[in-house]
């Protein structure tokens, strides 16, 4: 993992964080690790009986801090690349064998 923790800068890079809510134990350590205040605890409880981490998407920079400190490894972090145009082009070409995950 590179040390790409550029928070607060104008958003060249945008992040997206996905929590496996059924495995989250609600310890809140990710909340303290997020410099953008981009994580809160759910009101509902999951199958394990814990309130779980909920991500405020548009605040995410993709810094991975939350995921790094997550004891249970339930957080996946995605990030746009600075070279995004190029990448979009590439995707079109290799679409058939790509594992694409659409969030929403």
């Amino acid at each position: 993992m590179s040390d790409n923790t550029t928070a607060k800068k104008p958003r060249k890079v945008k992040g997206k964080t996905v929590v496996d809510i059924q495995k989250c134990k609600g310890c809140e350590i990710c909340i303290t690790a997020c410099s953008e205040n981009g994580i809160k605890l759910s009101k509902e409880i999951n199958n394990l009986g814990y309130r779980y981490a909920v991500i405020v998407d548009d605040l995410c920079t993709g810094c991975t801090n939350c995921a790094l400190v997550c004891p249970d490894g339930v957080i996946k972090v995605y990030r746009t690349s600075a070279k995004k145009k190029e990448l979009v082009a590439e995707i079109k070409n290799v679409q058939s064998d790509m594992k694409i995950k659409i969030d929403k």
């Binding site: 809140e28 303290t32 249970d72």
Partner: protein
């Protein structure tokens, strides 16, 4: 670069590439039994990440202790042995002596390593066994639910120091890293924590070195990890991390205690 397998999200015409995910090949995927926010889980995850990234899953044999991490072998997808309480470094010695080209590590708590297993700890280090010792210092006996450990801070309450540890009565908490660092067999001694992202990154680097240095066959790499124990400290995970910062780190300062010299590291791949 983008490969056919790479996980990504496309939203509003933008491509979000996966940049962090827990290790999938070196963790079994079994949900860890640790309490919410426990540093053991984070340390396991970092360890698994390093094994995955170094590509040494096939060459690595781990030794689990008796303590909360007794089930480490359920979570780490590598060959492992479960040792008797305190004897992990003796078990690791046995393994490493007959399989000298494998990477061998122990993962031990403070009761295991610094109380019942002190003799094995000191002597395996003194012999310069080419193993990595990961030492989880949470200042308490976690598994047996919160008794005083050799590392419990002065004044800190536990079920067997209910009025706070009294140094006159129970002695001072042992600084194991400082204790063993002067031994010649200790090649690399360093103290880290898992309570902040920055510290997790540093720990990862240390564990990476801990493995790599084994190639040199120059002795033990000893990585102390200051960890929390929210349940037995009777704090929320967040509060326990604050306790680490405020109480643990002043007594157990983070950083390298013994570094190999440049000459020592010559020939390292």
């Amino acid at each position: 670069m983008l490969t056919g397998e790479k996980d990504c999200i496309i939203e509003d015409g933008e491509v979000y590439e996966l940049v962090y995910e827990k290790p999938l090949t070196t963790l079994t995927g079994t949900r860890m039994h640790y309490c919410p926010g426990c540093g053991h889980s984070t340390a396991h995850k970092v360890l698994a990440e390093v094994i995955e990234e170094l590509g040494i899953q096939e060459q690595t044999i781990g030794v689990a202790p008796v303590g909360c991490s007794v089930f480490a072998y359920d979570y780490l997808n590598i060959d492992m042995q479960e040792a008797a309480h305190g004897r992990a470094t003796a078990v690791a010695t046995g393994i490493k002596r007959v399989l000298p080209d494998k990477y061998v590590f122990t993962y031990q708590g403070d009761g295991d390593l610094a109380a019942i297993g002190t003799a094995e700890t000191i002597h395996s280090i003194n012999r310069g066994e080419n193993i990595m010792i990961i030492f989880i210092n949470n200042a308490v006996y976690g598994m047996t639910s919160g008794q005083m450990a050799p590392t419990t801070l002065v004044g800190m309450k536990s079920t067997t120091s209910p009025y706070g540890r009294d140094a006159d009565f129970a002695g001072m908490p042992i600084k194991v890293s400082e204790l063993i660092a002067p031994l010649k067999g200790a090649f690399y001694v360093t103290r880290h924590s898992v309570h902040t992202p920055g510290n997790v990154r540093k720990l990862k680097k240390a564990i990476t070195n801990g493995f790599k240095y084994q190639q040199l066959k120059k002795g033990v790499t000893f990585i102390e990890v200051i960890s929390n124990c929210p349940s037995n400290w009777k704090m929320t995970p967040v509060k326990s991390n604050e306790f680490i910062e405020k109480e643990m780190l002043p007594y157990y300062p983070l950083g390298d205690i013994k570094l190999p010299s440049k000459e020592d590291l010559a020939g390292l791949k």
